[in-house]
Symmetry: C3
Subunit: 351 residues, 3 copies
């Protein structure tokens, strides 16, 4: 299982400064690494850990000097190189093809012979499960839903009827694709909230990862879409008719309200909220816990609730802490000005 | 499947301005609609889309003039009319009555013969499943729980033991009714958090919709209640002993802490937090991401974290962005006042 | 089922002031209690309810006087005493040992004979289920995962492969232990977010309670850990490589980003967010909805987003509401100072 450092370096196009004949037995963080392991250093915050690591070799960027007694592998992007090497050491688990006798697969479902459907998985009528897809026990593929090639549904992930999941997607446990959007019209006569049927679908493009207990609602009409290669953390809410562009990152517990559109490469921090019917341009970034109530132009960076320019928000946040002092100062100044005005008034009257 | 416009108009009590003999094949949003489709216009923000829509007919309110070349149907409430027509076009799916052989139904459960219990559904001892209820695979009805007439439990929805779900409710995938409330008493001796048994139940009244991965905890003693016709979005948390009144709307990722009471027709925006032991009066409205720490009187509208009057909050939020400038101004003023004081002092001494 | 008050008092080391021969039939809140029931009074906010309760007896602290016509039981900690008595009245449900014929247990799993595995539960290859553990239908124990003695997995709780759950834990419905952490490295060449394999595990120590739909991600390398006796509410997110110390309380919808470390006895309010790579010292407290971006020292109490000292935050929050008035005042002062400066200037020129 050990791998030669020179081979690992070649795999990521890195230059070795040190001993290329090292045998690498595994990967570890800088502080946890033992002899024989490879680590990486990309966040300056961990310089001390880098300098005291026991790792036999460390992936670093071109500008980082080799500490005495260590071997480094210089690469353009240490984190990316670490990801690629980690994929060598931890290849995805393979599952035997076939439908378990205790899986609950409808006779009219189309499961590719190379797919794995485990005991307790449910695949309903008309559903399609693509080549090498993996459906864990308790996962649910609704009527006429389609699961792409190589996609994994972890235990208890649910894809509602008619919804579409692309190739190489990962749906973590408890995630839900295609539940009804939250759409009602109030009838004051009855009175009741009349349900607007959610007759559209939800569609995940290829290479999407959806975190545990995250929800992508089906559209009222048409489609809710998560774009190619977008990664979604746990407990995220994506409402009906939202469009998320490709290669976006949505951190845990973020929520996007109905009909909003996110461009490519958008980043939402944790617990961010996006109001409905907005447009966030390509590469927009939203700081954690921000609440976005207006469109964001491409490349815009915002923070705060309600959200505005992040640089201003950071300064304003610091000032917020001084508000009690500011109020005190303001009152003191008012008194001093009143005093000055009295004197000035006296002065002007005296002569 | 196409329907005559005059019949659709009659169904919602609307007046046609244009061609009543149109054949309507489906519904669509203003921008997506094609010839032969019906749309609706109720949000002024979409005036441009309304004026350029290709829909053959559009539901509008009484005040909206018909654009040239379009047919409009005038109704009191275009969104409500759209909901009713949408229900005509997309009636709820019917499922064959009966218990699938691969459903896991306890011998001592009482399932109405008209109910549908699918493969992989679990119905435990003493549970009652009402007429025409639908229990999807992976959904779970605990011991002595009761599911009302026509209620649907989507895949992997869970109703804990003894809990009660009314008629015509919809529980989306992964929703949980009746998990233990978060109640502990700290014992510094051991030390440990001693669990307070959560011996009450959770009860959803009729016509409640509960979104995917939303949670309604059981009461410590007594009941947690969600009132008739209240609609709850995804990933919402309702803690033990909360009472939510009828016809409320709780948007995604909102949370209500223990023992708080919401009146009728309350609206919580997304990601709202309500502290424990509070009362929110009828028709109270809470803006998205607000954090409510005090009671709200009937009809009150609040925003902010901590929350206060929404109108003031909106003004204050705008000013927040100017805080760095305000601080600068305050310091400049202080210097100017000091200067004036010096001069005034000099002035009063000089003569 | 009724119990003698003197015996109940003895069980919690309490002193009866009143009638020790009362027969207690059950427990209830102060307002709901009927004759024959026992209640408790610990929150001063409920004094009125205490004074008008119909409970036959009330647990109170040493300082609380007995109202006329009531019996009180004086204890050090009424809430703790109530918890202990409640455990007498509502002992945890017992389940018959054994594996249901319709459970989906792999031949190579090791299930203790005293454990209960219900119909529809999944236990995968190499998994270990300890003595008296209870696995409900739809719950999932992944390959080589380990479930400790007396631990309960409620319906549809999921423990991923290799993860470890200690003794006497409670995992509520829809909770997820060990889904992949959110780790990617961006490759601008392809472009794509390259997945960093999440090759570590998640581990819950003994006596942990995990709320419905809460998620504890597995580590990238090493372990994500929730310490002994820590209690976690619903819809909480715990990211990869987080360490939560023992006896902490994490309220609903809180989220902790990757690699942060919480000490012992930490309390996070509802909807709190903790950024990544931080340290929160023992007994740190974070107010609801706060967003923590810096380390917190032991015993520190913070609020706000971004968070700072809670006492200052409370004062600043009050002032925030006065911001529009402050801005108006500031502008008025500026005009008055300008006027004074003009006069002063004139005055200094006049002579």
């Amino acid at each position: 299982m050990a791998k030669l450092l020179s081979e690992l370096a070649a795999h990521v196009g890195g230059q070795i400064d040190g001993d290329p004949s090292l045998q690498i037995e595994g990967l570890a963080g800088l502080s946890e690494a033992a002899r024989g392991q490879l680590s990486f250093f990309s966040n300056r915050r961990y310089r001390r850990e880098f300098e005291s690591t026991r790792a036999s070799a460390v992936l670093v960027d071109a500008k980082t000097a080799r500490p005495a007694g260590t071997t480094v592998v210089k690469v353009d992007n240490p984190q990316l190189a670490f990801a690629r090497l980690s994929q060598l050491f931890f290849p995805p688990q393979k599952f035997p093809a076939g439908i378990d006798a205790r899986a609950l697969v409808h006779a009219e479902a189309a499961v590719d012979p190379s797919a794995t459907v485990m005991a307790g998985a449910v695949v309903e009528r008309g559903a399609v499960v693509g080549p090498r897809a993996v459906i864990f026990g308790g996962a649910h593929v609704g009527e006429q839903a389609r699961i792409g090639e190589g996609t994994v549904l972890h235990p208890n992930a649910v894809v509602y009827a008619q919804c579409v999941v692309g190739a190489r997607c990962i749906l973590h446990a408890g995630s839900v694709v295609g539940a009804d959007g939250f759409g009602f019209a109030f009838d004051p006569g009855t009175p009741q909230h009349v349900k607007i049927p959610q007759a559209g679908i939800a569609r995940l493009e290829d290479d999407v990862e959806l975190g545990a207990c995250s929800c992508v609602d089906r559209a009222t009409l048409g489609e809710t879409v998560v774009g190619r290669g977008t990664k979604i953390d746990n407990l995220v809410q994506i409402a009906h008719n939202v469009k998320v562009g490709p290669l976006s990152l949505l951190c845990a517990q973020a929520g996007i309200s109905g009909s909003s559109t996110l461009g490519a490469g958008v980043v939402l921090g944790g617990q961010v909220g996006i109001a409905g019917h907005l447009e966030l341009g390509d590469l927009a970034k939203v700081a954690a816990q921000a609440g976005v109530g207006h469109d964001i132009e491409p490349g815009g960076v915002v923070g705060g609730s309600p959200a505005y320019d992040a640089a201003v928000w950071k300064r304003a946040s610091v000032v917020t802490q001084q508000l009690p002092d500011m109020l005190k100062e303001l009152r003191a100044l008012r008194r001093r000005v009143e005093e000055l005005e009295k004197q000035s008034d006296k002065g002007s009257r005296t002569p």
